[in-house]
């Protein structure tokens, strides 16, 4: 893990040891790489073995690229899109991650087999919890929204035979509970 040199600094060009040739040179190179880049190996092993535990991560973003994926959006009672970052201070990607976590919990409980293909009733149950979480923890910035109905929708994209299909499902409905001015 330490540097190959006593002070962590390689010798200046021209002051290095005389060049060796053939196998010795190759061996010296490997030893030098091992000694000087050993921290790379330590960090790589830690990241892969610990996985996602802050500050470590194995960086799983877009690591599976499945045929099908989805996003979560919120609309008003008439189906008009509400930009969640501007309305509630939360990103759509956070709502999706909440949804995936809820689905994984149901899978761990043995209620379903695939997170990517949940039975509709379980998807709606999870969606209800995600909407509850948002309405409880993310007050609307606009006080006029309090008491208004909102819907949580899942938009699914599926790649099949060179074409992409889009499907929209309403997962849950609720009412805006409270408001707080935007920071």
């Amino acid at each position: 893990m330490s540097s190959a040199y006593p002070n962590g600094q390689a010798p200046a060009p021209g002051k290095s040891a005389p060049a060796k040739s053939g196998l010795m040179n190759l061996r010296t190179t490997f030893v030098l790489i091992g000694n000087t880049a050993g921290f790379f190996l330590v960090m790589a092993v830690l990241m892969l073995s610990i996985g996602d535990q802050f500050p470590f991560s194995h960086f799983p973003m877009y690591a599976t690229l499945p045929e099908s994926t989805f996003c979560i959006r919120v609309t008003d009672a008439d189906g008009k899109l509400m930009p969640v970052q501007f309305a509630f201070g939360v990103q759509s990607s956070i709502l999706k991650k909440q949804m995936v976590r809820e689905l994984k919990e149901q899978k761990d409980k043995g209620r379903m087999k695939l997170v990517s293909a949940p039975p509709p009733d379980i998807a709606r149950e999870c969606g209800r919890r995600v909407l509850e979480w948002m309405l409880d923890h993310r007050p609307a910035f606009d006080p006029a929204l309090v008491g208004k109905a909102v819907k949580l929708e899942q938009v699914t994209y599926t790649a099949r035979k060179g074409a992409v299909k889009e499907k929209v499902d309403v997962l849950a409905e609720g009412f805006v509970k409270h408001s707080k001015p935007a920071p």
Partner: protein
């Protein structure tokens, strides 16, 4: 003819020649100061509004982080972590000062990540701060100065910090590529046909969050991939190669520059296509891989040396 080919092969081989890491003191000083400026963004400024840690993560697995809900405590933590970061950047008692900053950052980020949702935006920057702190502690082992070594690591420690941070950045990209391979039974680079659904999802998320609309480049790419799905693999393979072979950037400064520019282009492309910028990653690539400080500094030193020789 044979001589020409040999010379060409030798030139290509020399691009990949291992050159042990050298870093002048002035370079280490500048890089550490700029890095401290980047790390400053990690320090929490306000108390968390989330009531608890329902899905304990990171440090929250080992200790109660409820003190982060108290505004007064967070103000005190923020002030002391900032002072410690400045002292650490100046090279003063780094194992203690950087250690304190690291603790405050990891505690607050762990709390945020314990809400059931994991974000990766600030993760690499924090890992680099961890690497810097580990290098400063490692310097104690190497130092024969006893307590003085604890208070002042000196230039050797700073150079090691820069080198360990650089290795951490390279490791993160190679690990990201390994995760892709492991998660897909080594088929990730060839899943280009599925890349389109990820782009469409990202566009819809952007619209659902900010009413954002994709730019001209993103729209053109969606249309092109719709017409020719196989081109997706052509986009994924180079990106994957850059990530997987990021460790080659550790061989020498030229490869570091090349991989830095390549990975930066990869992030810019991801941003243009999917509105995912990973700004902290880009900053780290600029600082430690592309490293204009090194190239400008070296150019100035060479110019001065030539001027002196001419005189």
């Amino acid at each position: 003819m044979r001589d020409g080919a040999t010379r060409m092969l030798w030139k290509i081989g020399s691009l990949f020649r291992f050159e042990p890491f050298r870093c002048e003191t002035w370079e280490a000083v500048v890089l550490r100061l700029v890095f401290a400026w980047l790390a400053f963004s990690l320090i929490p400024t306000t108390a968390t509004t989330m009531p608890g840690t329902p899905y304990p993560h990171g440090l929250a697995l080992f200790m109660d982080l409820g003190f982060l809900r108290d505004a007064g405590t967070v103000q005190w933590l923020s002030a002391t972590a900032t002072i410690a970061l400045v002292l650490g950047a100046l090279g003063i008692a780094e194992p203690l000062t950087l250690g304190w900053t690291l603790f405050v950052v990891v505690a607050s980020k762990s709390y945020n990540q314990s809400q059931g949702v994991i974000g990766h935006a600030g993760q690499l920057l924090t890992l680099c701060l961890l690497a810097q702190w580990m290098a400063s502690v490692w310097a104690l082992k190497k130092s024969a100065a006893g307590l003085r070594g604890l208070l002042w690591g000196g230039a050797d420690s700073w150079r090691r910090q820069v080198w360990w941070i650089t290795q951490t950045i390279a490791a993160s990209y190679t690990v990201a590529a390994c995760t892709k391979l492991i998660s897909t039974d080594f088929t990730w680079p060839f899943k280009g046909a599925n890349f389109l659904v990820q782009i469409l999802k990202a566009h819809e998320e952007n619209r659902a969050s900010y009413l954002g609309e994709p730019g001209a480049f993103a729209t053109w790419t969606v249309q092109t991939l719709t017409d020719h799905p196989a081109l997706g693999t052509g986009m994924l393979v180079p990106a994957f190669m850059l990530e997987f072979f990021a460790f080659l950037a550790l061989l020498n400064r030229r490869l570091s520059l090349a991989f830095g520019l390549g990975l930066l282009a990869f992030h810019k492309m991801t941003d243009a296509l999917m509105a995912i910028d990973f700004g902290a990653h880009q900053d780290l690539l600029w600082l430690f891989f592309i490293n204009p400080v090194h190239w400008f500094g070296t150019a100035i030193m060479v110019a001065i040396a030539r001027h002196k020789a001419d005189a």
